[in-house]
Symmetry: C2
Subunit: 258 residues, 2 copies
């Protein structure tokens, strides 16, 4: 079977299966994006989460319950209020940790070039930890990941270690991150439209390829007002970016075009 | 210029440049790994951080100072003590955040297959957020990344929002993560040796390829005692793994071999 026939087979198998997540459905905020990707011949999505605030109860670092996949005291894809967390924390008997987990998406791609375009769009939209995986049998997967998380231990052996005032402050930070995360999903969706249109144009008219190559560079946007609908990394991302350059980790040199 | 000559040129350029990081040198805990990779024709490292505990001072989400690359109140690659953080926090006038950042490594690879081997080793060693990037000019980069972080806001507009007891508790968690991070770096180094030896053997004796293919699958280890020196993902990783399956995000199906 040739590669594209095999890919169509994988896609049909994948999309015909039931949603195995706890929630059992795709998150509202990414339904449009997931559906759009699945209408394209060269892509299909295998998993997604729009972003959520989680309160987990576990042993130290949440290990015991983690592996039993239980101990979820609270999970929400909407902004979270102090009282919900206070109530949920009463059920904690181990070390409870509050997490904000940003948008994550896994997309299987037909060709490496398809994954490259998607990866470039992800980076340009602010999802700095995105990357490609090439499986043993040649399956090409793009994971869209952000650095934009939060992980805060709140209780130890069931004892609350912080004040209600702190939880209130923490949820403000978490809710802001969720807002920023939503903007990035919109940016990703818009970028994706532009990049795929451009790719189609380029394939139809190879001569304009040179011009369109610029879409694979990660230009910084100096005008925040313009940034939202466009396919660029905002200069003023409101986050602690786990960025090798900005945070000055040991760098010999970072290759151009990377 | 053919691909391997071009790669040798990039490697020579990269390794001849000065270390541009604040620290200006490779972290002690990864020197051996970095040197080992750089002795191999098919790899060179472009940046690395062994893992660190950081205290950053910033506006909300650390934005303003972040982009000026300042406001580092504390940074250490060793286990951290409460008093160091208490002293450093006195200098905070914005929103100070304590972070544990795990090992990160960027490796440029000659061929996609080289990146695949390294990626498989990274995943098997517990670095779940690792991924490949293919640059505009065909540069192939592997980023080794963990999900094993911590990000905890501690003060708001210079006002400390938590108790000293909490900071003590938090540093215990951070120091444990640093310990686990070290074990993973060792595991990565051991895995890498085995995988590259196996690859060399396979190239010399193609007939044993079939057998060695198993090295690209992510077997779970049921015997923690055995786990350390071996190239497998420990069943009992002591962390809140940002794992799509375990944390049950929307999954249609996860392709085999991914």
């Amino acid at each position: 079977m040739d590669r594209s026939a095999e890919f169509r087979k994988w896609k049909a198998q994948c999309l015909s299966k039931a949603d195995l997540s706890r929630k059992g459905s795709v998150d509202k905020d990414v339904v449009e994006l997931v559906q759009f990707l699945n209408t394209r011949d060269q892509f299909f999505t295998t998993s997604s989460c729009a972003g959520r605030i989680l309160l987990l109860d576990g042993g130290i670092n949440g290990f015991e319950v983690q592996k039993q996949n239980c101990g979820w005291l609270l999970v929400t894809h909407k902004p979270c209020e102090k009282d919900d967390v206070i109530v949920a924390l009463k059920k904690a008997n181990g070390d409870a940790t509050l997490k904000f987990e940003p948008f994550i998406l896994h997309v299987q791609c037909q060709q490496l070039q398809d994954a490259r375009i998607l990866h470039s769009v992800a980076i340009d939209s602010g999802f700095r930890n995105s990357g490609i995986t090439v499986g043993k049998r040649g399956k090409i997967m793009l994971a869209v990941r952000s650095t934009h998380g939060l992980e805060v231990p709140l209780s130890h052996k069931g004892k609350l270690m912080v004040t209600e005032e702190y939880i209130d402050f923490l949820l403000n930070v978490a809710n802001q991150k969720m807002e920023e995360n939503k903007k990035r999903i919109e940016r990703f969706y818009n970028c994706l439209h532009h990049a795929l249109e451009r790719e189609t144009m380029t394939n139809l008219h190879p001569k304009i390829k040179e011009k369109n190559n610029s879409s694979y560079t990660h230009k910084k946007q100096r005008n925040p007002e313009k940034a939202h609908a466009q396919c660029i990394t905002k200069e003023n991302d409101k986050e602690l970016e786990n960025d090798d350059d900005d945070l000055g980790i040991n760098i010999t040199i970072f290759p151009e075009g990377y």
